[in-house]
Symmetry: C2
Subunit: 394 residues, 2 copies
């Protein structure tokens, strides 16, 4: 086996989750998904497709029906070019993570240098490693003082200094998993201008685009590289149905590409998964068409979740926590508990509380804990915070 | 974009299929799938899972229920070790092709040398290229005379001479798509013995294991590397639900691995697609449990399909065709029509007959045509052969 693959880290989140096997009493907030089932009308669309016998191969790039719906959706969020512009820039993928892997395959080869803004969910860094690249991490910094103390922020000078003409690819996930950090449009413009000079591709994981709470954009979504980039810029944006449509288990995502790359991604899809199931794509098309019934209420509820959990955590002794402006995670440090992997295991065993260790997202986040607050029932968040409080008092 | 990825060939099958867009009158035999819908009881299992709200992430390696069912299935086909032996050697993948891509990621890095037995469906060769390897093709040879004239056969000396200590990986697909060539157990033993000496991994694509007509094995399945290899041999076998269970569009497969690799493949799955949908896996588990209701009748029907089509093709002037002993393809040469891509396009336009050009499977197969005979209605095969006959007379 290849050494680089063998050395990929096993998931520390799963290592913690294993502590909770057979423990139904544990309140589980460790994985990045809501505990809410996909809405019935979306599941119904998949069932109707199965009933109709749609069990054959589909187009590599996705069903035309779904690509059309995605084009309308994209134009709605990033208006100005018209839906027709987007159709040729879309590739439906077998999950957001699959789209990101395809992008690494297209852009990265052995010896390439990749810059990643970290901490970040581990897959984004592992993918270029699998393709043989060197990954240089540019850490976000924790704000020390003031109203945003405990939040993570970009050191733009450090990032731009790290991206040189030798940098093949920048991978950046904002709104960020795990930190809740987001990128502003001006920052995106600055990064893009710099990457134009260095010839660096930007792979932007924007799957939390809709899960944005800052309220400082016209349509409520997080700033996107799609709003600042030209169609032929070296920018690929990855999306997923998982977070905005409560469809984690469906494994469906999409990429927005420069149109000159679309045919190549069609080939890469053929060689990786060939296509996504038709019945899954039918469900996704309905999710987009009736998205107004899902996403706005979901985002409003996630804000309630955040506003339920964050003050309760901040009220606990030794908690350092900035309010996340996007995503669905409270990311916090517990003073006096430096080994977050052990802390997370202790919390499972001793408090019945399931959190993800920050070190799963990079050494920069050692000592931190990630709490996914996407909970249908906000009482679970209250109970979880109580468990943490009582555990601290043990 | 990476040059190697940009240079990957676009599908010549799809290039031909594009000729038939909006032509419902074309009899389509170009893709490698049956025209039969997945059996209702399998679809019902997926619908029940969706109805029950199983829309969340699953384990990277697959649902325990499905892995258990696969272990029982594997032990049934390759008896002697017991089902428990296989559980730790299984990884559920997002299609057979996805499993093969994971294997290339695990085993192949830039500069590695890979040997491929060809002609073969293009994905098997493209995957190591994406990982930066050099691929050396070892062509099957067409039998010139005798009862097997027109069939493709392995030149064992040429294959073993091509596999040296510098060879990282051998990829071999038998029963073979497109040629219908199969490997015998003695040949598998010889290849394995040689690869043990050279330290070469074997990646065996055995997705047509069940679609075997020779009748020379105890349980009717094609000879498998699993029957000749030891558990810790450097052998990975790829499987799929697509062909044996009429589930092409579901995108579900599995790998059989040395148990020491399973944890690494769990990570690779996380970084590629993370998991297969639970509702797809539930359907697959039912397909395995009630497989006796599907696969034997399917294989018997495919034999009827083969025996309907092959004699009719052989009766046509200039057709060179060996009877396939496995798989679901009639692979034949039409004398006087050397450019098979153009021939296939002509056949669509002029005969209403949709076949795949042999050159899609490698330069060795230029001048050949692939006809997928997996047709629910054998009359379609008769009509297709008639169309070819009439076209020849034009």
């Amino acid at each position: 086996m290849r050494a680089v693959v063998e050395q990929l880290e096993a998931s520390r989140i799963r290592e913690v989750a294993n502590e909770g096997l057979g423990r139904p009493d544990v309140l589980k907030f460790w994985f990045g998904e809501s505990d809410e089932v996909t809405p019935a009308f979306i599941r119904d669309a998949a069932m109707a497709s199965l009933q109709a016998g749609e069990t054959f191969y589909a187009q590599n790039l996705g069903l035309p029906e779904l690509r059309e719906a995605l084009a309308v959706y994209t134009d709605g969020l990033h208006p100005g070019r018209g839906a027709a512009h987007w159709v040729d820039r879309l590739a439906v993928t077998s999950g957001g993570v699959n789209g990101l892997m395809l992008a690494s395959q297209a852009l990265v080869q052995a010896g390439d240098e990749v810059v990643a803004v970290t901490p970040v969910w581990p897959n984004l860094v592992a993918q270029p490693l699998i393709m043989g690249a060197q990954v240089r991490r540019v850490p976000l910094r924790v704000v020390a003082d003031g109203p945003r103390a405990g939040a993570w922020a970009l050191d733009m000078d450090a990032l731009l200094a790290a991206i040189t003409p030798a940098t093949r690819l920048l991978v950046v996930n904002a709104p960020n998993n795990p930190t809740g950090w987001t990128l502003g449009a001006d920052e995106q413009r600055a990064i893009l201008a710099h990457c134009r000079r260095t010839g660096t591709w930007i792979l932007a994981d924007e799957v939390y685009e809709r899960v944005y709470f800052a309220g400082d954009t016209p349509n409520g979504t997080a700033p996107s590289f799609l709003d600042v980039a030209q169609p032929d810029d070296r920018v690929i944006v990855a999306h997923s149905f998982s977070k905005s449509f409560l469809m984690t288990g469906w494994r469906l995502g999409w990429l927005v590409l420069p149109s000159t790359l679309t045919a190549t991604f069609s080939k890469l899809i053929e060689y990786n998964t060939s296509c996504a199931p038709v019945f899954v794509q039918r469900a996704a098309a309905v999710a987009l068409q009736r998205g107004q019934e899902v996403t706005p209420a979901l985002v409003a509820h996630l804000r309630v979740c955040r506003d339920t959990l964050v003050p309760r955590l901040r009220a606990l002794p030794g908690v350092i926590l900035g309010e996340p402006s996007g995503g669905m995670y409270a990311f916090f440090r517990l003073e006096g508990h430096g080994d977050c992997l052990q802390t997370a295991k202790h919390l499972v065993r001793e408090a019945g509380l399931g959190l993800a260790p920050g070190s799963a997202f990079g050494p920069e986040a050692a000592g931190w804990l990630r709490w996914c607050f996407a909970s249908r029932d906000t009482d679970r968040l209250v109970q979880g915070a109580d468990r943490l409080r009582r555990w601290q008092a043990l």
